[in-house]
Chain length 158, copies 2
């Protein structure tokens, strides 16, 4: 059912997230900060760049990494994630369940709809909401640096 007017939101779609994370630019940028491009780091960066199941937490990243190289350790995963976050390459999200989840920080900003039953995370983006946020902040005398919007909900029964 198509609405006659354009939707005021869009599902986020990253046409080329992979190249943004998994490329020489990032690796070089990291190298230039004095960081060494080690095997575990390359692996973790690849995993983060893999589309598919989004927003893995540290343990999930660790599990995926172990599959490809059983010698990797959890602390290294944490250390690499922290490094990438400080570098601005990924973003850390704190959801209510206690764990932190990570995702590439490139691409346009988007918000999250979390399925309370399955834990699935749907990304969307709404121009209107962004504009409203800015307007509100402006009238309160503020300039938005970044924001976070999370909707928690359940599938409506068909």
């Amino acid at each position: 059912m198509q609405s006659p007017v354009a939707n005021d939101y869009q599902l986020a779609s990253f046409t080329d997230m992979t190249t943004l994370l998994d490329n020489d630019e990032l690796l070089n940028a990291l190298r230039q900060t004095g960081a060494r491009i080690t095997k575990p780091r390359k692996l973790i960066i690849q995993i983060l760049a893999d589309k598919g199941d989004e927003h893995p937490d540290a343990m999930e990243i660790f599990r995926r990494a172990v599959r490809r190289d059983s010698r990797i350790s959890l602390p290294t995963v944490y250390r690499t994630l922290k490094m990438l976050e400080e570098h601005g390459a990924i973003q850390k999200h704190a959801f209510v369940d206690g764990r932190s989840r990570y995702e590439p920080a490139d691409g346009p900003h988007h918000d999250h709809l979390i399925d309370m039953d399955t834990g699935a995370v749907i990304e969307f983006q709404s121009e209107k909401i962004e504009r409203l946020q800015e307007e509100i902040a402006r009238e309160l005398g503020y300039e938005i640096v970044h924001h976070r919007l999370e909707l928690y909900g359940r599938k409506t029964k068909a």
Copy 2:
């Protein structure tokens, strides 16, 4: 500078948050679920109802509680917070620092604008944003149970 049209947002103002939490209504409601109104519970509810420094975490609530009754324990604080949350009386927020912070859930829902320089938290509410959120969720096949919107910003230089 007043706009000719009504603002689409409002600063949240709880004229009487205290009575909402610290009153017989809540106590009776709790009693009716089979819960017992114990001394520690009354204390914690009072502390949460106290305005002033908002969004305390569990440890902070515990510290304040101990001041008034040194026999109280941290687990009881956690257990009471969980109970109140399940009852819908308070809301739990997970900020990025790992800890969870709590605040009364009564009154209308509101969102947060966080001053990145001072850490000040300004509460506001926007009907329009709420509606947009629901619309988006609906079109994605979801029903919103609750949400969280945080704007991080800096004061615009006069």
